[in-house]
Symmetry: C2
Subunit: 246 residues, 2 copies
Amino acid sequence: MNSARHEGSQIQPVLRRLSAFRHLSECGTAALDKAIRERVLRAGTGQDLICEGDIPDRVRFILSGWLARYKTLEDGRRQIVNFVLPGDACDTMIYLLSEMDHSIGTLTPVVYSELERPQFEQLMASDKTLAEALWCESLAGNAIRREWAVNMGRRVALERVAHLLCEIIERLRPVGLVDGNSCAFPITQMDLADATGLSAVHLNRTLQELRAAGLIVLRERVLTVNDLDALKTAALFNPNYLHYVH
Amino acid sequence: MNSARHEGSQIQPVLRRLSAFRHLSECGTAALDKAIRERVLRAGTGQDLICEGDIPDRVRFILSGWLARYKTLEDGRRQIVNFVLPGDACDTMIYLLSEMDHSIGTLTPVVYSELERPQFEQLMASDKTLAEALWCESLAGNAIRREWAVNMGRRVALERVAHLLCEIIERLRPVGLVDGNSCAFPITQMDLADATGLSAVHLNRTLQELRAAGLIVLRERVLTVNDLDALKTAALFNPNYLHYVH
DNA sequence: CAGATTTGCTGATCTACCTTAGCCGAACCG
DNA sequence: CGGTTCGGCTAAGGTAGATCAGCAAATCTG
């Protein structure tokens, strides 16, 4: 178990992410900080935080690590419907529903904070800027899902994968996880395939196509994009759906 | 212009839809009824209520007719990311975002009610059951988008179309628009193709396959499904994501 | 450390779905 | 009234991406 001081340093991603939507008041920042430190937990790779059919009763904030929201068909086909990245709030308000319609599992080791419903509602009530930022975060998650529908329905494999990579970079950037042209990229090709609706084989070939075109360097779990504009053009990427204000 | 008495009769779908999530108090019902009657509008087929890039500043309730949320790529490829059906609330809270990331257009003639942000916030504050029902409606919309990701990513054409038809039927039923085994089905095959990520040609063939299998009858804008369970089985359809409580 | 598993990668084959092109009947329109 | 558009439908041919099978390196595990 780490000290509170150490865990505290990991709250930054959440503050940075919410600040992308609204300037947070000092009061809001303090309330959030306090609430998050209350209960910090860890999970290893490949664990489910919550499963389809479970009763949702808490809200989570991701401090580090990557997760996926996913659904599985009876015959095993899996579709990742969203990545959950550091700084993301996870399931704002979902406790209003009586049952989860999807699962949330870790793709890497994860550190996260858990709030019970009363704590979370108290947090929302504590500060207007914070509440609005949380609402925006939730609405932006919605917008991401819409863009994914476009991605899977109307983009070909190369555009599709390029688009996903652009999105991940632009989501990691405001939380400070992009260093120059590179970011840690800790997930497997299988995960990428399940997120893009492609087979693992075809995803692998598409990555190689992107590499051959000089658009990406992806090796040893690090993604480097030297010409992001070129990648965005190849992806028909328009960042408006991320809804960052500043 | 129709009389208020006549328009009033069209509020039913909204009440019925929200009642699927929470039992509405009399007070909430009355407030909603009053707010909706305030400003009832009409639009013909093929009109956009709001476009990508517009500033969202109002909330809408659909009283009759079908609409689509959609996005268009630069080169014209279109993807419908959601159908908006009678009774649906349209863009709860979206005024918190500064810009629309998608468009909403009519697929049929539509009757709808428009509320400015202050009116809507007043409505939300007026009654707890109503507010919760509206939140649930919004969360359920989210869940539908997740299921669509699965649909486009992991289901083959026949399953995909079958799944969409099941969803539409199960969404129309609680608002009273399913009559026995049939419902009005006023949209074109092109619309269905854009919603499923298929080409119009292939969608047409898939419909014929469904007809040949005896799973659906679709003609003259009426959809009849004599054995809904069979269609659901073919679609790997699980209604849990619609989140109806009763 | 050896064995088992996972991950990235490749080749060959197959097929689901796309594209292009065009027909037909119904509705609409000047 | 004849032209035009729209929606449903069909045929032919091409291709993007799936499936199956297998290999090598890295990683995990006992």
